[in-house]
């Protein structure tokens, strides 16, 4: 499956991509599988979205899909069909914070 992923500006700069990216996910399109594919395609993003070892989401990063906040969902959550089919992007968002 080709999954569309929208990254925050700083991570787009880091990954040297201009806009939305597409990553290939084999098997069930879960939250964890999309992040695995993202880090496999863009290794420089490892550690910036989730912890290197525990894979725990960084506190100021959020995951949205189809107008739902999936930030607190487990990695084996199956993402909506619209994400798996590429009709909607999976959003990685830098949380609102001052500074």
């Amino acid at each position: 499956m080709s999954v569309r992923v929208e990254l925050p500006a700083h991570l787009r700069t880091l990954a040297r991509v201009g806009g939305e990216v597409t990553v290939d996910v084999s098997g069930t399109v879960t939250l964890g599988a999309v992040l695995d594919a993202l880090e496999r395609t863009y290794p420089v993003l490892r550690g910036t979205i989730r912890d290197h070892v525990t894979h725990k989401r960084r506190p100021f990063v959020r995951f949205f899909a189809c107008e739902e906040d999936l930030s607190h969902e487990p990695p084996d959550l199956t993402l909506p069909d619209a994400i798996a089919a590429g009709r909607e992007p999976f959003l990685v968002v830098g949380a609102l914070a001052g500074g």
Binding site: H10, L11, L14, V44, T48, V53, V61, G94, A97
Partner: protein
């Protein structure tokens, strides 16, 4: 003609300032990594075009960037800093045990001989090393595990290893400093460590002369006298002439002995510089006057350096890694402020001029003397 390159880390990016050997006209390039905190950048003494930078934000964590062309282009290298083995605990603010957690890299210290070898001082305090140009990092666990690590406690700025000094005459001997644990030394390249805090006195800890617990802000040495160390502690300016085995206070006639940076003249090992700050809760210069103080006697006797620095209504701070010297003759001295100014002196501190005035808050300044 020789020149100077300043690597300036700020709250919102990195800037590279360059000038020829006269140091009269400066160009400012940047921001690199705009929007990110750049705690520290430093060049390799063995290859001045090899630079390393500590880049991070609260959002996306820690990155390390490397440049092979003096800062024109950069590539992200490994950012995985994993404590060796079971991380264990240090003390939390309330005295309870708290697990060691990696937060950021405060300081990068390249080897004097090998451009691919770099030490990193991190929060929570530990020492890491790369020997492959940043492609992998490994902890030197002997520091945290030498015996006092479980007693270390963070200062207000966190439990940070912020200073790394490699003895220029013996790469096996390294001095480091941690807030708020103190100074430590290894004589075997980082395998074993010992606290070197005898003579320090700190009123903010129960045992004022304890083996560890002192909030050391910065230490510095001159390459010709690696056994002589100068220290800006939370309060007190100190000196050691025996490699840190013992310290004595040299605050002398300073208007206040609180401050963050301390540095040594490139050619005069007894000439040192500090920036007195009013107090631990008032992080600005006394009387609104930004003054560098210079001692030509290795401490005790100090003179204010004011020409070209604001002498009224100035309430900025100068952070611990935000002062540096070049190796030209006369020695250039540089510092950056939390107000975004970078000041330069091309005459060892006699006169100053702002060479950048509206940067984000400056976290670090490193001077490179270019051939």
């Amino acid at each position: 003609m020789s020149g100077v390159r300043l690597l300036v880390g700020t709250r919102k990016g990195a800037f590279v300032l360059t000038a020829d050997g006269k140091r009269e006209h400066w160009s400012v390039e940047g921001p690199h990594f705009g929007g990110w905190e750049l705690y520290h950048l430093k060049g390799s003494p063995a290859d001045p075009n090899r630079l390393y930078a500590s880049q991070g934000t609260s959002w996306f964590g820690q990155l390390i960037q490397r440049s092979n062309d003096g800062g024109k282009t950069w590539e992200a290298v490994d950012n995985k800093f994993l404590y060796d083995g079971v991380a264990g605990t240090h003390q939390w603010y309330d005295g309870t045990p708290h697990p060691w957690e990696f937060k950021r890299v405060w300081h990068l210290e390249p080897s004097h001989a090998d451009p691919d070898a770099v030490y990193a001082g991190v929060e929570d305090a530990a020492m890491f090393r790369t020997t492959d140009g940043g492609r992998s990092w490994h902890e030197l666990p002997g520091l945290r595990n030498h015996g006092t690590g479980s007693k270390w406690q963070p200062g207000a700025g966190g439990l940070c290893l912020h200073t790394i000094l490699i003895d220029p005459s013996n790469a096996q001997r390294i001095f480091i400093a941690i807030s708020a644990a103190g100074a430590f030394r290894t004589d075997d390249g980082g395998t074993t460590w010992k606290p070197i805090n005898q003579g320090l006195r700190s009123d903010h800890i129960p045992d004022k002369t304890a083996e560890v617990g002192h909030c050391v802000h910065r230490i510095a040495l001159h390459r010709s006298r690696p056994n002589t160390l100068f220290m800006q502690k939370h309060w007190d300016v100190m000196r050691s002439d025996d490699g840190g085995e013992s310290w004595r206070e040299v605050s002398g006639n300073l208007p206040t002995d609180f401050g963050f940076p301390i540095d040594v003249h490139a050619h005069e090992p007894e000439t040192i510089y500090v920036v007195p700050i009013k107090s631990d809760s008032e992080h600005y210069p006394p009387d609104g006057k930004l003054r560098v103080y210079r001692s030509r006697t290795g401490g005790d006797e100090w003179e204010p350096l004011t020409k070209g620095l604001p002498q009224s209504d100035c309430y900025v701070n100068v952070l611990r890694d935000a002062m540096s010297v070049d190796a030209l003759d006369r020695c250039g001295v540089y510092f950056g402020t939390t107000g975004g100014q970078v000041y330069a002196s091309a005459d060892a501190g006699d006169t100053w001029e702002p060479i950048a005035e509206h940067l984000p808050a400056v976290l670090s300044v490193e001077a490179q003397t270019l051939p």
